[in-house]
Amino acid sequence: MLLVVAMTAGISIGAVAVPVSEVWASIIGHISGSRTEVIDTQDRVVWIFRTPRVLLAAVVGAGLALAGAALQATVRNVLADPYLLGVASGASLGAVSVLVLGSGAVAGLGVSAAAFVGALAATLVVLALGQRAGKFFPARLILAGVAIAAVLQALTSYLQLQANPQALGGLVFWLLGTVAGAEWSDLALPAAAVLLSSVWLLGLGGRLNVLLSGDDAATSVGVNVNRLRLQVVVVSAILTGTAVAVAGGIGFVGLMLPHVARMLVGPDHRRMLPVAALLGASFLVLVDLIARTVEAPSELPLGIFTAAVGAPFFLWLLTSTRRVSLGS
């Protein structure tokens, strides 16, 4: 419900206001096939510009929230977020390399592809460092992630200083996240990745619940803890890598929305994960709406508003909640 309202608002409001009825008329018309071509300006705005953009925001928000929720349980740490394992810094380094040095310097990859490759490469390094004798340890993973992120960030900062002033604006924009300019063709891959990963993570919900009791307890009820950790980390890295590749480094969503979901429906991952995904999607759609209306017609990066709008709301929720935990 929330997501539908948020998405409708996101499509309806903007530089060209479109009435809600026309929004749905346009969308239903195009999906059912009765409109095969764009018929007027409003239709163009709805179907060509805003719908893919809003959908991309929803997909990215859902992906980040899911990845954050699953990783928090996996390393049993309330501070864990999708960028925990160096994913974001890897992606940033990849993207910034392309933006500054040109795609030729990075094996001809585009910005998104370089970001995705960077994200996965960083995750693999962190996984390699976070294990000992083939076993993953939460504290080790977290510390390896922090250290790798620091190294990659240093490299990214250095590259930023090498950038010419024109490139710098776009670079900062990318680092803070945006779904501006999203097209239908941008949507298929991230949507598929998020959909598959969500289904996978939802299937692991019961096991993640047990993991909150501790590794030994989870093992004793038949959970292969090491394999579960590896699965969650890899799926989360794919989710986050995809999100960062298409929308840049959007902070806060993956850290806070899982906690909001827990406050609303409790720690059971079979309930909490879908709620977190829906909240993440709705939240990012609304944030995108704010980011492009507050200083219209110019747009601002999403990262500014996920933090500026989200943090106060989260703090309000935090003070009105009895206790905060992962459920353990």
Partner: protein, 271 residues
């Protein structure tokens, strides 16, 4: 013989913690594992509930090497109450017990009526049915242990492994829990710190020292003052509990020479 540990060697971080361990349990037996801190009790138990893969040797349940099974199949044979505290789970007691059904669940399978039935039954058995909907975090230490025991029972596994289940519990809660374990009637392997508990509740005990099993047998025969002095570095005298008739140990520190003091005037009660 339902459970059999053969020539087990266990390593942690490259160090050998347990070596040449052999242990066996008959159906329905309560087998105690006793020994001083660091003697390898917990490590030995971990190899049974799959938290630590043996460096050598086998853990065999009804002819099947547990380490050749996957985690789920193994958890249908072995349930456990590990030593690590479950902390403050936000789940209700009933939800915690339902987690014991995990080994029977496929990836998307929800808890069915049968699972709730088993969970309710296990809560009744540990006397926690009335608290089923309370948050686990709000329970007392003794109640938490009983709920965790119910979770293990919900696994419907024929073997139960407990790692010092009475730690941090008050006397009444300790006795309650041991009574419940006994009444469960499962083949039980239990690490016990308190030798009096071992004597009262175990059919057989295995004594561990420095990673090896140094003695085994019925507690009355094994837990002699001589063994307690050698293994636990404490002086013990044994008296019969006037109410239960079970052997009861009275402890005092070793004297400087490491010798047992001669029994005093109460010699008549001392065996």
């Amino acid at each position: 013989m339902i459970l059999h540990i053969a020539d087990l060697r266990l390593k942690l971080d490259g160090h050998i913690i347990v070596s040449d361990a052999n242990l066996s349990a008959d159906p329905g037996d309560v087998v105690g594992v006793v020994g001083p801190n660091g003697s390898g009790k917990s490590t030995l138990l971990k190899s049974i509930y799959r938290a630590l893969r043996p460096a050598a040797g086998r853990v065999i349940h009804e002819g099947v090497d547990l380490w050749r099974l996957d985690a789920r199949s193994s958890a249908r044979r072995i349930s456990a109450l590990p030593q690590e505290g479950a902390g403050d789970l936000e789940f209700t007691a009933a939800e915690v017990v339902l987690q014991g059904r995990t080994p029977y669940k496929r990836m998307f399978e929800q808890d069915g009526l049968g699972d709730w039935d088993i969970a309710a039954n296990c809560l009744i058995r540990v006397g926690m049915f009335g608290e089923a909907h309370r948050s686990f975090a709000t329970l007392s230490g003794g109640e938490k242990q009983r709920v965790l025991l119910a979770r293990a029972l919900a696994q419907r596994a024929p073997v139960l492994v407990l790692d010092e289940p009475t730690n941090h519990l008050d006397i009444a809660a300790q006795l309650d829990l041991l009574e419940l374990v006994h009444d469960a009637g499962l083949t039980t392997i239990m690490a016990v710190h308190d030798l009096n508990h071992a004597a009262a509740h175990c059919d057989r005990v295995y004594v561990m020292a420095e990673g090896r099993i140094v003695a085994q047998g019925p507690p009355r025969e094994v837990l002699t003052p001589g063994l307690i002095q050698d293994v636990f570095r404490a002086t013990a005298v044994t008296v019969d509990n006037p109410i239960t008739g079970l052997p009861q140990f009275l402890f005092s520190p070793l004297t400087r020479e490491g010798l047992r003091p001669e029994a005093g005037p109460s010699q008549g009660a001392v065996r």
